[in-house]
């Protein structure tokens, strides 16, 4: 018999968009009026699938729709999907932070989450006091904490400061202490969300190692959410892929990662050609964008400072000469602020064969962007004047940059989502 520890049945979650105001009160009253007459909630029917790029008519969206899956004891389940696919919402529901709109989750074990480490840390309290407070918030009893106190302090590497208020700690020390507490939780099911994105390289290694320990040697069940496909492949035994709040794939973790990567590039292929929000005369149309790493593999994430190649594939819709083609790329940060742009005419490049090939590459010997999520706008125009656009598309591609070590100082650069300029302080 399969030892099912967690069963998720028909989980859906609806969110209301916009702000809370007088309209909310009238909806609440209407909902209440339906309830006392024993009728169904009128707003449960109107929700739309959650696709933030397309404009919907309804104020309500489904962040998750009919999610079903089972997890066996000892399994490590990877949950993957693009930003906004519903991963975090799912984890929030699993860790009881918010309730689902419909459906139930049945569990045979205590769930604890590493959604955010250091929750409830009080800067006025000492490290030791914070270990107790944070541990208790995460569900440990005082006795459990006391029995593990020495181990926690040792793991954090903050022995000297343990009786000092945490407001005197460096931010790195605070994170280490917080992670140390979380690492010694002993729930039957552990939920981990991108903890690997915080802290320095050494700390990330420690965190991954601890997760491997938990899942492999202790046989604990782990739900792991990440954008790091390599980590998902190596850590997880099973994977599910979320897209627009629905499970689109469930199975072996390698297969899930492959499914995610291919389905994603397929999607951009079809998406770009079918997009209607483009501007320009339309002799050429972009059909897909991909990011290639130094081995030529299509990726969605790259480490800052590594070489990369952006490939823009297009289709010739009408006859056009290559003489005056100018390609342009704009990098934007997560808040859509421009961080860098490139135009081919400035580089003195003419495109002789580009129409035969059907693609143009932007070669980047060193990707000098700090850690963060970036999106691209692309344009092809006739000559220097922006008004002579042939094809212009916003937000065609999104990729993740992991912080690197640009100055080779052994220190990981800050992930502030802006471009890096070659510069150096001197005394």
């Amino acid at each position: 018999m399969k030892d099912i520890i967690l069963k998720v049945e028909n989980i859906s979650k609806q969110y209301r968009l916009g702000t809370v105001g007088t309209g909310t009160l009238s909806h609440d009253l209407n909902r209440w009026w339906h309830t006392i007459r024993g009728k169904e909630d009128p707003y449960l029917k109107v929700g739309e699938t959650n696709d933030r790029s397309s404009k919907g008519n309804s104020e309500y969206v489904w962040a998750l729709q009919d999610i079903n899956f089972e997890v066996e004891r000892g399994e490590v389940l990877g949950i993957i999907g693009k930003n906004g696919a519903g991963k975090s919402t799912l984890l929030k529901i699993l860790s009881k932070v918010t309730a689902p709109t419909t459906g139930t989750i049945k569990s045979r074990g205590r769930i604890a989450s590493l959604l955010e480490v250091g929750t409830g840390f009080n800067p006025e309290l000492t490290g030791r006091e914070n270990i107790y407070l944070n541990g208790a918030i995460l569900g440990m009893t005082k006795q459990e904490i006391t029995s593990k106190l020495d181990e926690i302090i040792a793991f954090s590497g903050c022995e000297r400061y343990i009786d000092t208020p945490t407001k005197r700690y460096s931010s790195g020390m605070t994170v280490r202490l917080a992670f140390a507490v979380a690492a010694f939780l002993e729930p039957e099911i552990l939920v981990v969300d991108e903890v690997l994105a915080v802290g320095d390289a050494e700390f990330q290694k420690k965190a991954i190692g601890k997760m491997q320990d938990i899942s492999r040697s202790e046989g604990r069940t782990v739900l792991f959410v990440s954008h790091n496909m390599a980590a998902v492949k190596s850590l997880c035994t099973k994977g599910i892929v979320l897209e627009h709040g629905k499970v689109v794939f469930e199975g072996d973790s390698n297969a899930a990662v492959d499914f995610y990567l291919t389905s994603d590039s397929n999607k951009t292929n079809t998406d770009l050609l079918s997009r209607t929000d483009r501007r320009g005369s339309g002799e050429l149309k972009f059909s897909s964008v991909s990011l290639l790493d130094d081995k030529g593999d299509s990726v969605f994430e790259i480490v800052s400072g590594e070489s990369a190649r952006l490939r823009f594939t297009f289709e010739r819709i009408k006859e056009i000469t290559t003489e005056n083609l100018v390609f342009g790329v704009v990098f934007r940060d997560i808040n859509e602020v421009k961080v860098a742009d490139f135009y081919s005419d400035e580089m003195g490049i003419t495109f002789d064969k580009v129409l035969q090939n059907g693609y143009v590459d932007l070669e980047i010997p060193k990707l000098l962007l700090r850690g963060g999520v970036y999106s691209l706008d692309i344009v092809v125009q006739n000559g220097k004047i922006a008004a002579n656009q042939i094809d212009l598309l916003h937000d065609v591609f999104e990729f993740n940059v992991f912080p690197g070590d640009y100055w080779k100082s052994g220190k990981i650069n800050r992930a502030t989502n802006v471009a890096i300029i070659d510069a150096r302080f001197r005394e």
Partner: protein, 289 residues
């Protein structure tokens, strides 16, 4: 780690869209009792860090309020407080009233103030308002100390000792006050998550409420002088608690069996109503707060 084994169809717990009205999970609250006391400890330890006078502030606030009341209501307005010195009379009222307002004000902020914690980790939400009520008990205890100090002082000045064995009921009154503050606070905190309007209502409503809660005058006085508004006090459970607490401490005022029964019933009802409303809100407030 203990290994649990489960039969087919048997689960440790289920997460559904809504809590049942009466699924108040006392077992879970009990499991988190350590957290409750750690919160209490945190609140007591951290409030007066980096202040010079520290816990002395607990004394200063009621002391000055009592002095002000004595000057305005007794010396200027001429309210009579019987055999008891007016200052002591006011202090007795203020101490118990302070407990109520502290409980109400702080619990009514629970969801909003702790949204960042609640948004990340689950623990029974009711732990936080409960910790507030307990923390304030400590504050009440300290304030009672200054009351006792002044009480002893007035005894040496020739005041008749009035507190008798009935003083043992004083803790019960405090519990009633706590239930009322906690219950009302939980109801308000649940509603504030969506509609912020209530925050404004609470801040000035509590002040107004003090004037109809017999804090600075004996209940009988209003019934006698303002008979058409007497019902305001007649149906205000807080007024009974304040009046009775003063009777227990000073032997001044009246005790009404009907009033006390009414007060206890209202407190218990408000408390359970608060629990139910709070319980319903805690599951999804993070989406609206």
């Amino acid at each position: 780690m203990e290994k649990r084994s489960f039969a087919e169809g048997e689960w440790l717990y289920e997460i559904g869209p809504k809590n049942n009205v009466f699924s108040l999970n006392f077992k879970e609250v009990w499991r988190y009792r350590d957290l409750l006391f750690l919160f209490v400890k945190r609140d007591i330890v951290t409030v007066y860090k980096q202040t010079i006078l520290g816990p002395l502030w607990y004394f200063i606030q009621p002391l000055f309020t009592a002095i002000t009341f004595t000057i305005i209501f007794n010396n200027v307005a001429g309210i009579q407080t019987g055999k008891v010195p007016s200052f002591l009379f006011n202090l007795a009222g203020i101490v118990v009233w302070n407990y109520f307002t502290a409980c109400l004000n702080e619990t009514s902020d629970t969801f909003k103030k702790n949204a960042s914690i609640f948004g990340k980790v689950y623990f029974p939400r009711v732990i936080l308002p409960m910790s507030i009520v307990i923390t304030n008990l400590v504050k009440l205890g300290i304030q009672l100390l200054i009351f006792i100090a002044f009480y002893l002082y007035y005894l040496t000045q020739g005041m008749e000792a009035a507190a008798g064995w009935t003083i043992i009921f004083y803790p019960l009154l405090v519990v009633v006050m706590g239930l009322l503050g906690l219950g009302l606070g939980m109801i308000i905190s649940s509603m504030v998550t969506k509609y912020r309007d209530l925050t404004f209502l609470v801040s000035f409503g509590v002040q107004l409420l003090m004037y109809v809660s017999a804090v600075m005058y004996p209940m009988a006085l209003v019934k006698e002088k303002l008979s058409q508004l007497g019902w305001l006090i007649e149906y205000n459970p807080l007024a009974y608690v304040v009046e009775t607490s003063r009777y227990l401490l000073l032997g001044e005022g009246s005790v009404s069996a009907w009033g006390l029964t009414y007060t206890v019933v209202v407190s218990v009802v408000v408390f359970f109503l608060g629990l139910i409303v709070f319980n319903r809100t805690e599951k999804s407030f993070i989406d609206t707060v």
